[in-house]
Symmetry: C2
Subunit: 341 residues, 2 copies
């Protein structure tokens, strides 16, 4: 299977490492022989229809900050986007950074890849949060798959669990702690009595929060994931514009302490039920949903099996890369079914 990687940051490098290390096993277990035929990064691109040498890609990135050879240096975004449409590849793996303003450049890459009849795997929440219904339609129209396991829960297969494991049941609602940074901040306020600003500073010091932490603490990251869950698992055709968002910037220490004395904890929740919203709410300490620090958790309410909860790390390069591989295996299965049909 021929892959084109768009973006070659932490996740794409980890993914490249996994397939380099586990090539034999992936072939044996899944009949899957992934060949990276193109990599586009900020410096330009590198292409080899026979397959690029993975170790070389990783070395070049480490030593030169780009995989691009001298003759392919090209900072023209339009040229790169055209390349994605025209290159002979089966799957495009898009891992460029999230942009919630207009979803670019990820959104253009995704659109061109799908229009070029390539299956797409993305870990980029921006384009999905802004345009998931349209992208799903575009994929369906072109008869290709659009997968994005890594956007919710990192390596923890929350979307997969909801889709494949709850297949015989009926999903009634989902409630999730979907952002590790805000969960860390709220946990430190509760456990260490830090005020919000101190806890945020600590999260930044530990590398959990960006210098501009708005994406996390104002609830946008949680909202993106909630929108993705609503589309993928509840067939709601919604975008970021349809969700009511309240972040944790105004959660004060008194509120956290008051909750604590009642055996409860304040958590930033993404909720899909009759409503669609993100807000800080009190959760009972006895509720298995009530996880601490950077953990993520989602509680699904189902008709027959009651409440089912899945918990895991919500982020991390290697974790998210394992989600990309999971998507690739799912696409491989779909392709095999089509060949047989």
């Amino acid at each position: 299977m021929r892959l084109a990687l768009v973006g070659f940051g932490v996740v794409a490098q980890a993914f490249t490492k996994i397939i380099a290390e586990r090539r034999q096993e992936i072939l044996k277990r899944h009949g899957l022989n992934p060949r990276i035929v193109a990599v586009i990064d900020q410096g330009g691109y590198t292409v080899n229809p026979k397959g690029l040498v993975l170790e070389r890609l990783l070395q070049d990135k480490a030593s030169k900050s780009t995989v691009t050879e001298e003759q392919f240096k090209n900072h023209d975004l339009q040229a790169k986007i055209s390349l994605v449409k025209e290159i002979e590849a089966d799957v495009v793996v898009e891992t460029t950074p999230t942009n919630l303003k207009d979803g670019q450049p990820g959104l253009s890459y995704l659109e061109k890849a799908l229009a070029g009849k390539k299956h797409v795997i993305t870990t980029n929440k921006g384009p999905l949060a802004l345009s998931l219904p349209a992208l799903m339609e575009l994929a369906e129209y072109n008869g290709v798959e659009l997968r994005f396991s890594g956007t919710v829960g990192g390596g923890t297969p929350i979307l997969e669990f909801g889709k494949r494991c709850l297949v015989s049941d009926k999903l009634l609602s989902a409630t999730g702690i979907l952002n590790g940074t805000t969960n860390f901040i709220l946990t430190r306020m509760e456990k260490d009595g830090m005020i919000f600003d101190e806890a945020l500073a600590k999260a930044q010091k530990l590398g959990y929060a960006e210098a501009d932490p708005s994406l996390d603490i104002d609830g946008f990251d949680t909202a993106c994931k909630t929108v993705i869950i609503a589309n993928w698992l509840f067939n709601r055709r919604v975008t970021l514009r349809d969700i009511k968002i309240t972040g944790i910037r105004n959660v004060d220490l008194k509120q956290v302490k008051d909750a604590n004395t009642k055996g409860r904890a304040v958590k930033l929740l993404g909720i899909v039920d009759s409503a669609l919203k993100v807000e800080p709410k009190e959760v009972s300490r006895d509720d298995p949903l009530c996880v601490e620090d950077t953990l993520n958790a989602v509680k699904f309410q189902t008709e027959y099996a009651g409440e089912e909860i899945i918990i895991g790390r919500g982020a991390g390069g290697m974790e998210t890369a394992s989600a990309v591989l999971r998507d690739l295996i799912a696409i491989r299965e779909r392709m095999a079914e089509e060949i047989m049909a």
Copy 2:
């Protein structure tokens, strides 16, 4: 798809209700049209190649304690077992009670069904715990599926999660609270300061524990589930004879209280790592695995995504019936693939 039900207790009746209520939806979503062509129960059997009337089955069971009509009353076990082999059905759903001594009569039903080239779904832990490696071989030899989602976690798709969701990762170990009754007893000892006998009596009063509670409190039920996890998810060819089992009969209140003062709780754990065992162990309250009352939880340690935990109700008729439906859908998918191949 033609189904033969062997056993018509709580789970089989709940399953029958689900397909009666959701027939249209199951057909539309999964292309699956389940037709129950035979039911064997303690009174005898009832057969109709065109499909039995589901409402009638449920009414008969409620009013007469058997679905068997006068002319089919037959308490000869051998006759019933032969019927299972010879009947024209695609799938046998076996839900007779668990027997850990010799697995009977479930084991004979399963063997005959598989030898008769029928796919099998069972919720009966006895035959699996005693003979899972041999049964898996028998299924493979006859080119049919053997499924048993409902044996671990009731409706919570623990086996499915391990198999389908962790497909791109590597499973390193599993640790589970797999028995609701013992978890209820230990929780009441901890929270209410009950001694073991009081907590057991309360569990019995609430219907969580049998009159003979040995299966639960001596760890056998947990051991069965641990053996099933080891076979299904870790490719270990083991049976109940290969697992070291310690129950909770000797857990005293002091031990529970001592753990509590250290922020820990005593839980009966089934463990698959380099060893295979069941034993009461202390678990930190901060560990998401540490669920209370009758909840079940399993923690999977994976290579790339770290720890992933799944929590849910571990039992219940409707819950387990939803697992049977999940297995049926999986078998339907497998049959569809084979027709295409």
